[in-house]
């Protein structure tokens, strides 16, 4: 009896050792596979497109003196068609990247009793401010919203889980949630086949046309704005946008909140 137990333990010990070393061997070989594929992918490199526009910090100046309703509508159309923004009939499902609002809503803190007559009726385009200190980025639990090196606050729709914390955090209402499948509300003739749509359950907003900057183009709204929008590098003192800001008094939305918006308004 004693002998039997002894030999059983010996046998079991050797088997465990043998099986263990087998799986160890397995692990080693699979590591080798990973290493070799890693070496293979090291040959491939990523880089920026040659004609990409770059900046230290992208910013925009909206010159309301050059604006009218027609230009505003045109900018909205250009943007929404370039980015496959759906046009839901139900206001509750509305998706907006750039839209027009009135002065008292755009600048609630500067709502004077005796406001200049012109500003009362003027449509003012509003969009994501691409804040230097963006509250939406802090609120996002998955880093789906992040700040690029060039200051653009961008959405990575692959990561968005649709929690909408960013919408609560944004003081400008710049973000929209896809309550419905956006493809239902994109007209086929308006579809931009080079840009993806979104899916139900993600948040979206203006991306400062990151995809157009990458191929050397100005943002879609700037292109059709007839000079009312000036887009450029806020980090470069020689840039056109900085010259405009030097020569003109500009205001920003809800500046007292400390978000440091990159969109300036000349009123």
């Amino acid at each position: 009896m004693e002998n039997k137990r002894r030999s059983f333990l010996k046998f079991a010990g050797v088997s465990v050792l043998g099986l263990g070393s087998l799986s160890l061997l397995d692990g080693l070989t699979s590591d080798d596979v990973n290493a070799s594929s890693g070496k293979a992918s090291a040959e491939a490199t990523y880089k920026k497109t040659a004609n990409a526009l770059t900046a230290k910090r992208w910013g925009m100046v909206v010159d309301t003196r050059k604006l009218n309703d027609r230009i505003c509508k045109k900018m909205e159309k250009a943007c929404h068609e370039a980015h496959n923004v759906p046009d839901h009939e139900n206001k509750n499902h509305e998706i907006k990247w750039i839209w027009e609002a009135h002065y008292n809503h755009v600048f609630p803190g500067k709502n004077d009793e005796f406001l200049q007559e012109r500003l009362k009726e003027l449509p003012i385009p509003v969009l994501c401010n691409h804040c230097a200190n963006p509250p939406c980025v802090q609120a996002c639990p998955t880093q789906a919203t992040f700040q690029r090196e060039d200051g653009i606050v961008l959405m990575d729709f692959h990561r968005c889980i649709g929690c909408r914390f960013c919408m609560a955090a944004c003081p400008y209402g710049s973000r929209s949630f896809n309550f419905r499948d956006p493809r239902e509300a994109i007209k086929p003739e308006n579809e931009n086949k080079e840009f993806p749509t979104r899916t139900k359950g993600v948040v979206e907003k203006c991306n400062f046309c990151a995809e157009r900057l990458a191929v050397g183009k100005q943002p879609a709204c700037v292109e059709v704005s007839k000079g009312a929008l000036i887009f450029g590098d806020l980090g470069d003192p020689q840039s056109e946008i900085r010259q405009v800001l030097k020569d003109n008094y500009a205001i920003r939305r809800k500046q007292n909140l400390g978000t440091n918006p990159s969109v300036y308004y000349l009123v």
């Binding site: 490199t45 990523y46 579809e191 086949k193 080079e194 993806p196 979104r198 990151a210």
Partner: protein, 127 residues
Amino acid sequence: MSDKPKIIIGLIIFVAVFTFPFWYNHGAASSAPEPLLSDKAKEAKHCVRDTDFMRKEHMQLLDGWRDRTVRDAQRVYEIEGKEYMASLSNTCMECHSNKADFCDRCHEYASVDPYCWDCHTYPKEKK
């Protein structure tokens, strides 16, 4: 010991039920589908990487493309001196314009359901 026949009958039933899926499906396995190349893909002969790599690791490749494009703004994928725009809809689908025959066949067979197409567009196919 008088329970011997009962036990044996029970065992036989157990084995029969347990192995049912095996002999029921025996011989019914369909062969692995072969993805169909579009005319343009056939003409090009060469994909971004070699066929073996693409077959095994296209998902890792696309994953890298999407991360580098979205998060690092590096949209150009350079390999062996050739440059490609890292874009599913605009680069891959330009040659592989037959999603149903090229992508879906294997994905369906392997029962994977990639959600690329929830957002990314693909060429409309003639039926």
